[in-house]
Symmetry: C2
Subunit: 187 residues, 2 copies
């Protein structure tokens, strides 16, 4: 059972309308007007300006207790009211990847509270993580968020909290793509 591969293609048109692309660190992305989300290459996108892909994979840091906390509060993608979307591609430094699992876990959760911070913003901010490092992609993680317009300031707070953590010291490339999403991505 292989992991589903999700692609995000930016182009002149797309399933969503891009409102901003902000480069937080490292190299940016070319401007696009729309982003189309594909599952295993369907639908095909003609002439994308860029395509970022990732797979939905197993959890890498989350404990059983944290999974239970998440499952109690999280919401699914494709809620009708969640017409705002955002894609945050990030890459981490070689120092991060060279660290052993227990050290990365300690930075991720015990010191940066990544999961704990995310849970505070549930169920309003729904998200799905895509892993890209092992498939030869320019970014290593693509996180897709969906929320209603009235929760945009909450989303901004979530990003500010995460970006102020020790974990983010290891992020060496990050772009923030905001969209208005008419027909939300299929969950």
């Amino acid at each position: 059972m292989s992991s589903p591969r999700i692609s995000f293609s930016g182009g002149r048109i797309g399933g969503s309308c891009v409102s901003s692309i902000t480069t937080l660190c490292g190299e940016g992305l070319l401007p696009v007007d729309g982003v189309t989300v594909q599952v295993n290459g369907v639908p095909s996108v003609p002439d994308p300006i860029w395509t970022l892909a990732g797979v939905i994979s197993n959890l890498r840091y989350t404990t059983g207790r944290e999974v239970a906390d998440l499952q109690r509060t999280q919401s699914s993608l494709a809620r009708p009211e969640a017409t705002c979307a955002s894609l945050i591609p990030i890459r981490k430094s070689p120092i991060w990847w060279g660290s052993p699992q227990d050290e990365r876990r300690a930075i991720y959760e015990e010191r940066s509270r990544h999961t704990t911070i995310g849970i505070k913003y549930l169920p309003h901010i729904a998200r799905r993580l895509h892993h890209s490092r092992d498939i030869g992609q320019p970014f290593e993680f693509l996180t897709w968020f969906e929320f209603a317009p009235e929760h945009e300031s909450m989303y901004v707070n979530l990003l500010e909290e995460l970006r102020s953590t020790e974990e983010w010291c290891y992020v060496d490339r990050e772009v923030d793509i905001r969209m208005v999403w008419e027909a939300s991505v299929a969950a």
Copy 2:
């Protein structure tokens, strides 16, 4: 910096001479006479019967203390005396992958002693792990071993120890390919 992709192609000829292919569980592999190891698709292999690929990626369970223990004792690939090689492709069950990180770690090391067992056989049995799950491969891990002919019984013991662990209850496909390797794979 993307992960190097290593391919193992089985065919009528190859960089190594296959002495046996044993299916431990699940579907087997077609018989081949030789296996060629490629890094990022080089060299090209004409008409392979099968090709298995994986990426060299970050550690998923190993702690800093275990890394130090490994580094103190492990040997590199491509030792001139290590003319025996073995490739063990495995796949784990959906129950494994659906478990949270702390539960998988507990099975992997606290209860099955995966790293501890491996360390006992160092430096004689050198190995390299390749991750295949996220790149749409039929197997999820490809472990490549190299050892001198006089250490073959030690290698058999290593496999027997690992296969008797709780971790191996989650392995639902496993093939064991043994080879004689004239020019050892580049490390």
